[in-house]
């Protein structure tokens, strides 16, 4: 049951949210997506407007279904994309998400990936670039049910801080009740490699171009392998240039 009450920051899933902004769009409608047994589907969520955005996708992947979801969140003052995915036997889920924020923006991606059947695979790649006083969050829970042996679940979460005043939150969580499970998660918050920047600049690239080039590559990791990878990267780049 979905509660209609506005969450508070005491609710773990909304711990870093801009509740005031959220109130304006609450309650958030659930967007149901079902990919039937053996079928493949893909979807893009691109939020480049400046208004508040809150979305909640509820995805059911039947046995052997494949779903490729790409998210570009780059613009909203508050942008939240929550994704709940349930994978049946042998299903495959890919999430590639990029968040770009500056000023006082708050962007977040909250995922709950449930491996309900055996031999399902999930891969999440989230790349966040934060400037100014912005906040970027990834909360990702992976649940592997009893009997979901052969699960292969992967989370790769990286955030890049362009200013020391920005904040990145990352909380990967694993809850595993099966025996034969491969679950990998990598999580890193960092700054642009100073050696790399100097190297590029020493070859004639102005600082903003050197940063853009390095960040472009960083963001592209979220869109690698997507049908619309090039268009997504271009839209991300447009925002990146504004931020730099």
């Amino acid at each position: 049951m979905t509660t209609l009450a506005l969450p508070t920051r005491r609710d773990e899933d909304f711990r870093y949210s801009d509740i005031e902004a959220l109130a304006a769009v609450w309650p958030v409608a659930r967007e149901e997506i079902v990919v039937v047994a053996g079928a493949s589907d893909s979807r893009e969520i691109v939020e480049t407007g400046t208004g508040t955005v809150a979305r909640h996708l509820v995805v059911t992947l039947e046995a052997g279904a494949r779903f490729d979801l790409r998210v570009l969140s780059a613009g909203p003052a508050f942008g939240r994309v929550a994704i709940d995915v349930t994978l049946g036997e042998g299903a495959d889920f890919t999430l590639g998400a990029a968040q770009l924020a500056t000023g006082a923006q708050t962007l977040e991606i909250v995922t709950e990936v449930s491996h309900a059947g055996p031999n399902a695979t999930s891969r999440q790649v989230v790349r966040t670039v934060l400037a100014g006083h912005s906040t970027g969050t990834y909360l990702g829970r992976i649940a592997v049910d009893r009997g979901a042996d052969g699960t292969d679940a992967e989370q790769s979460v990286r955030a890049m801080l362009l200013d020391r005043t920005a904040t990145a939150n990352a909380r990967p969580e694993l809850e595993i009740y099966a025996d034969d499970v491969k679950a990998a998660h990598g999580c890193a918050v960092g700054e642009l490699d100073a050696n790399g920047l100097f190297y590029l600049m020493s070859r004639g690239l102005p600082p903003a171009d050197a940063k853009r080039l390095m960040l472009q590559a960083f963001i592209a990791e979220a869109f690698a392998g997507a049908p619309g990878a090039e268009a997504l990267s271009e839209r991300a780049l447009a925002r990146l240039e504004e931020i730099l």
Binding site: F198, Y199, R203, G204, L205, P206, M214, A217
Partner: protein
């Protein structure tokens, strides 16, 4: 072309260069040799403008400009090339993409038209050929997965594309096998041995100097040049060691 006068520099507040003076004219090849810790790499980085290398005294004039006033990319646009001892890996950024942007940024700085994709590839292919480097390698991410020798050859390809007036090459010979050393040496000669260009080789060993014949050899010790001479000085160093020569 380059006049370094009484240069003092610190790294993390530790004085490394203590009164370095050196003058390089167009058409000349100079070699700076010296023991570990003498300040060789610091010299390269200070001239390249690396953050963290603080100049505390002295002046550097490059082609009539105050080099120390310029940002690293402005130094590059002015015609300075710094070849790295340890070229940096940049995942996800291809050589071709990066070098075309770099070349065009420099051209823009000089008020020239940018190179088209086709023009750039032609230039890159020509310079890669000089260094016997497969063009496909330049489509890969910058230095990622390259061997030490391949990285150094890629540095020279970049130098060829950027066509600098002055190349400062920091231990470009390290990590090279005998064949690669010859290829790199010949590449340096082909690209830089011209009347309007100059080279500053920073090296431990004589071996690169067999291919790129220096006009002047300087011994750097304790952050300053303690001895200068012709090519024979490098041979003497090789035979007698730094201690004997600098004593």
């Amino acid at each position: 072309m380059l006049q370094i006068t009484d240069l003092h520099a610190t790294v993390a507040d530790k004085p490394i260069l203590k009164g370095l003076s050196l003058s390089i004219n167009a058409g000349e090849v100079h070699a700076i040799m010296g023991p570990n810790g003498a300040g060789k790499s610091t010299t390269g980085y200070v001239l390249g403008g690396r953050p963290g290398y603080e100049v505390t005294g002295g002046t550097v004039q490059f082609d009539g400009q105050d080099l120390l006033e310029l940002e690293p990319h402005e130094r590059s646009a002015a015609g300075l090339f710094l070849g790295f001892q340890y070229p940096v890996e940049i995942p996800g950024v291809s050589f071709v993409q990066f070098l075309r942007e770099a070349a065009n940024a420099q051209r823009k700085g000089r008020g020239e038209e940018p190179l088209s994709g086709g023009e750039f590839l032609k230039l890159a292919r020509e310079k890669a050929g000089l260094l016997k480097m497969d063009m496909d390698m330049l489509k890969r991410p910058v230095n990622v997965g390259f061997s030490g020798g391949e990285k150094k050859r890629a540095e020279m390809v970049q130098m060829g594309i950027l066509d600098p007036k002055l190349a400062i090459l920091d231990e470009t010979d390290s990590g090279l096998d005998i064949d690669a050393l010859r290829i790199v040496g010949e590449g340096i000669n082909a690209i830089m041995r011209k009347p309007d260009k100059a080279v500053l080789l920073i090296t431990h060993y004589q071996r690169l100097l067999d291919y790129v014949k220096p006009d002047f050899v300087h011994v750097l010790a304790g952050g300053r040049i303690v001895r200068s001479g012709g090519p024979e000085l490098a041979l003497q160093l090789e035979h007698e060691g730094y201690e004997a020569v600098t004593a």
